[in-house]
C-alpha cells in the first residue's frame, strides 16, 4: 500500500534513478541505489513538498529549496491516493484540479459566468465609472484640453475672421444658460459640418454656414453645439472609450493599449464622433435654448433639412452622417416639438446680424480663388 515506482533526480545532475516512493504519515521516503550500487534513502518532509498546479499523466513533484530534488510519477491513481492518505493536504491545486477534471457541466457553468461578468463590466461598470470620473474632471483641465485640441486643429485650418466675429456677436444675443465661455470660429471649408470642443470652443465650417437659410437655423445649430459643451459630452465620450480600452487592456494586460487610446483621442478632438444618445441630448438642449430665447424651434427642423439634403449630394457628408446620425427620427423629433411651441417672436437683432453673415458669405464666394 502507498508504494510507487518513481524516477528520482537529486537536483545536482540529470541522472535518472529508479526509486521507490513510500508515503509515510509525516514524510515521503525515497529509496534508490546510488552510482556505487549502494542502497540510499532520502526523506521528504511533507510541508516542503512543492504543490503541483495542474496534475497530468506524468506528475513531477519538487522538494525543498533550489536546487530542488524531484520525482516523476506515472501512476494514474497517485493523485487520488494522495487525497486519501493525506486528507486536508493539497499536493495538487484543488481548484484547478476540480475544474480540469469536472467535465463539461463545470466548464459550461464557468463559461456562462465569465460571459455574464464580462457583459456586466463592459456594459454597466466600465461606462458608469467613466461617467462618474468624467463628472469629477475640473473645468480648468477641460478648457485646457479643448484649447489644445483647438490649437492643433487650427494649424491646418483657415479662419473666416469676419464671419467668426459676426457669428460670435449673434451668439452674444442669445442666452444659452451656461457659464462656459462660448467662442465660435468659422473655418473656411467645403465641409458641411460643425463641432464643439470641451470648454466652450465651437468650430463651424463655412460649408455649413453657406447652406443655412435663416437666423433660426443658426440659432438651432448653436443651441445644439452648446448642448455638447454644457453637458461635457466630449469628455464623457472620451472617458467612455478610455474606460472600455482600459478594461480590455486590463483583461489582456496590454499596458501599451493605453497608447493607442491616447492616439485615438487625439484624433477624436478634431473628429468628435459622439454617440447617438449624446446627439439626442444636444438636440433637446437646442430646443430648450430656442424656447428660452423665444426663437422658433423650426430653426432646428430647417437645420436637419439642410443636413439631410446634403446627405444625398456630397459623399463627404457621409463623414458627418457617421458621427451625427441624422435619421428621420431626429427630424421628426424636432418637428413634433416645434409644432407644440408657443411664444416664439421674431428677434430683429438676430435677423439683422444673420443678414450681415449672409452678405459676407456671398462676398466671400464671389472672390476669385
Amino acid at each position: 500500500m502507498y508504494e510507487y515506482e518513481v524516477k528520482y533526480y537529486d537536483g545536482q545532475s540529470s541522472r535518472s534513478r529508479n526509486a521507490f516512493l513510500l508515503l509515510r504519515d509525516s514524510h515521503w521516503q525515497l529509496i534508490f541505489r546510488d552510482e556505487n550500487d549502494e542502497e540510499q534513502s532520502t526523506r521528504w518532509e511533507i510541508d516542503q513538498i512543492k504543490q503541483n498546479d495542474m496534475g497530468s499523466a506524468l506528475n513531477t513533484f519538487h522538494y525543498g529549496d533550489f536546487p530542488h530534488q524531484s520525482v516523476e510519477i506515472e501512476d494514474p491513481t497517485f493523485i487520488d491516493d494522495l487525497k486519501q492518505k493525506y486528507p486536508g493536504l493539497d499536493f495538487v491545486n484543488k481548484n484547478y484540479h476540480r475544474v480540469l477534471t469536472g467535465g463539461w457541466k463545470v466548464m459550461a457553468g464557468l463559461v456562462a459566468l465569465t460571459i455574464l461578468l464580462f457583459a456586466l463590466f463592459a456594459f454597466v461598470i466600465a461606462p458608469n465609472s467613466a461617467a462618474l470620473i468624467a463628472g469629477q474632471i475640473p473645468r480648468s483641465f477641460e478648457s485646457k484640453l479643448g484649447e489644445n485640441g483647438y490649437q492643433v486643429f487650427m494649424t491646418t485650418a483657415e479662419e473666416d475672421a469676419k464671419r467668426s466675429l459676426l457669428v460670435n456677436r449673434f451668439a452674444k444675443q442669445m442666452d444659452f444658460d451656461t457659464d462656459y465661455p462660448i467662442r465660435i470660429t468659422v473655418v473656411e471649408s467645403d465641409e458641411v459640418n460643425a463641432f464643439a470642443l470641451p470648454g466652450g470652443r465651437i468650430v463651424l465650417f463655412s460649408g455649413l454656414l453657406d447652406k443655412m437659410g435663416s437666423a433660426e437655423e443658426l440659432a438651432g445649430l448653436l443651441g445644439h453645439e452648446v448642448g455638447h459643451v454644457k453637458h461635457r459630452h466630449s469628455i464623457k465620450a472620451q472617458m467612455r472609450s478610455l474606460s472600455t480600452y482600459l478594461f480590455v487592456s486590463l483583461l489582456l494586460s496590454d499596458v501599451n493599449g493605453v497608447t493607442a487610446v491616447l492616439m485615438d483621442n487625439a484624433k477624436m478632438l478634431s473628429n468628435l464622433s459622439y454617440s447617438r444618445k449624446l446627439e439626442h441630448l444636444a438636440d433637446e438642449e437646442a430646443l430648450a435654448v430656442l424656447q428660452k430665447n423665444h426663437i422658433s424651434q423650426s430653426g432646428l427642423v430647417d437645420l436637419f433639412r439642410t443636413l439631410q439634403g446634403e446627405a444625398g449630394k456630397e459623399p463627404e457628408f457621409l463623414k458627418f452622417l457617421s458621427s451625427h446620425p441624422l435619421t428621420q427620427d431626429r427630424l421628426d423629433f424636432a418637428k413634433k416639438a416645434a409644432a407644440k411651441q408657443r411664444g416664439e417672436q421674431e428677434n430683429l437683432e438676430l435677423k439683422a446680424i444673420w443678414e450681415r453673415i449672409e452678405t459676407e458669405g456671398k462676398k466671400e464666394s464671389e472672390l476669385p480663388g
Binding site: T114, L250, N256
Partner: protein, 318 residues
C-alpha cells in the same frame, strides 16, 4: 531510457485543448473578478501547464515561476512604463516647446532602452524558472553588452532605412542564444544576417508575384531558418536541429487554425495554441550524440520577473 547511441530525439507535447481551455476560463474569470490583479497568476498557470505537458527523453519540463513573483514584476514593469508616460505628460503639460521636445526625447530614449532591458530580464527569469529533471536553464548574457548591440543596431537600421534590421535581428538572436545554458549544456545560433535578408527578400518578392500563395513557403522558410540554425553543445558533441517544415504542412496548419478561429468566434484559441506547439515539436528533431543523464546543475536561481512582465507589457512574445 534511450541509449546514447540513439542519435535522434524529439520533443513530445501532451497538452490537450480542453484542459488548456479550462485553465483559460478560470484565468479569465479570476482576472475579471480581481479587476486584472490575477493576471500574473493566470500567466503562471498557463506556462506551468504548457511546460508540464512538454516531454523530452521521458521527463517533463517544469515552470517554477509563481504568480507572486510575476505580480511583483508586473507592478515594477507597470511602474516603469507609467513613470515614462508621466514624464512625457508632465513635460508636455508645461506647454513650452523645449520642454515638450525634452519630454519626448526622455520618453523615447527610455522606451528604446526598455526593450533590451526587458529582453535581458525576461530571458534570465524565464530560463532560470525552467527545469528538466531538476536541472535549471540559465541566461548569462551581459545587459550592457546587449544595450550596446541594440543601440548600434538601431542606429544602423535607421541610416540604412531599415535594411540593416535583418542583420541586427540575427546579431541579437546569436547573442541571446549563445548565452543560454542548460546545466552544462550550451547553445549557439549560426544564422547570419545575409542569409536572413536573402530569405526574406526572396520570400517577399515571390509572395507578391504569386499573389500571396508563396507566403506559406516563405513563413515555412523563416521557421526552418530559426530552428535549424540552433546548435546544442554537450561536452565535445554538437547536436543539430533538423526540421521537416514544409509549405504544405504549414499551409494546412494555418488554414485549419483560421477556420477553427472563425467558426468558434475565437473560443478555439487554446486548441489552436496546442496545434501550433505540436506543429513545431512534430517537425523538429535533435540530431547528434546527447547524454540525458550527464547534465550538471550549474546555474543560479533568479526570481525577478520584471523583465518578463515588461516584455509582456511591450507586446513582445518569446
Amino acid at each position: 531510457m534511450e541509449t546514447i547511441d540513439d542519435q535522434q530525439r524529439k520533443l513530445g507535447f501532451w497538452g490537450e485543448g480542453s484542459k488548456l481551455f479550462g485553465i483559460f476560463i478560470v484565468n479569465m474569470l479570476l482576472t475579471l473578478i480581481t479587476l486584472g490583479l490575477y493576471y500574473p497568476w493566470a500567466r503562471a498557470a498557463t506556462m506551468k501547464y504548457l511546460y508540464q505537458e512538454t516531454e523530452f527523453e521521458g521527463s517533463r519540463f517544469t515552470f517554477h515561476g509563481t504568480g507572486k513573483e510575476m505580480f511583483i514584476g508586473f507592478i515594477k514593469a507597470l511602474g516603469i512604463v507609467l513613470s515614462l508616460y508621466l514624464v512625457l505628460f508632465l513635460f508636455m503639460w508645461i506647454g513650452n516647446t523645449l520642454f515638450t521636445l525634452l519630454g519626448i526625447l526622455i520618453f523615447f530614449t527610455g522606451m528604446s532602452l526598455l526593450t533590451p532591458i526587458a529582453i535581458h530580464g525576461a530571458l534570465r527569469y524565464r530560463m532560470s524558472r525552467t527545469s528538466w529533471r531538476g536541472i535549471h536553464f540559465g541566461y548569462r548574457g551581459n545587459l550592457s553588452e546587449l544595450i550596446r548591440i541594440c543601440i548600434i543596431g538601431f542606429l544602423l537600421t535607421l541610416v540604412t532605412f531599415g535594411i540593416y534590421s535583418f542583420w541586427f535581428e540575427m546579431k541579437v538572436r546569436r547573442y541571446l542564444i549563445q548565452n543560454i545554458r542548460f546545466g552544462n549544456v550550451q547553445f549557439s545560433f549560426r544564422g547570419d544576417g545575409t542569409d536572413w535578408f536573402g530569405l526574406n527578400l526572396a520570400g517577399y518578392l515571390l509572395s507578391i508575384i504569386t499573389l500571396g500563395i508563396y507566403s506559406f513557403w516563405w513563413m515555412k522558410d523563416r521557421l526552418k531558418f530559426q530552428f535549424s540554425n540552433i546548435r546544442i553543445h554537450q561536452d565535445d558533441s554538437t547536436i543539430k536541429v533538423k526540421t521537416s517544415f514544409t509549405g504544405g504542412n504549414y499551409f494546412g496548419l494555418v488554414i485549419v487554425n483560421g477556420i477553427l478561429m472563425v467558426i468558434t468566434l475565437g473560443l478555439a484559441t487554446p486548441w489552436i495554441m496546442i496545434r501550433n506547439i505540436k506543429y513545431i515539436f512534430d517537425n523538429i528533431v535533435l540530431d547528434g550524440a546527447f547524454n540525458p543523464d550527464a547534465l550538471e546543475q550549474t546555474e543560479e536561481d533568479y526570481r525577478d520577473a520584471t523583465g518578463d512582465d515588461l516584455m509582456d507589457a511591450l507586446d513582445m512574445g518569446m
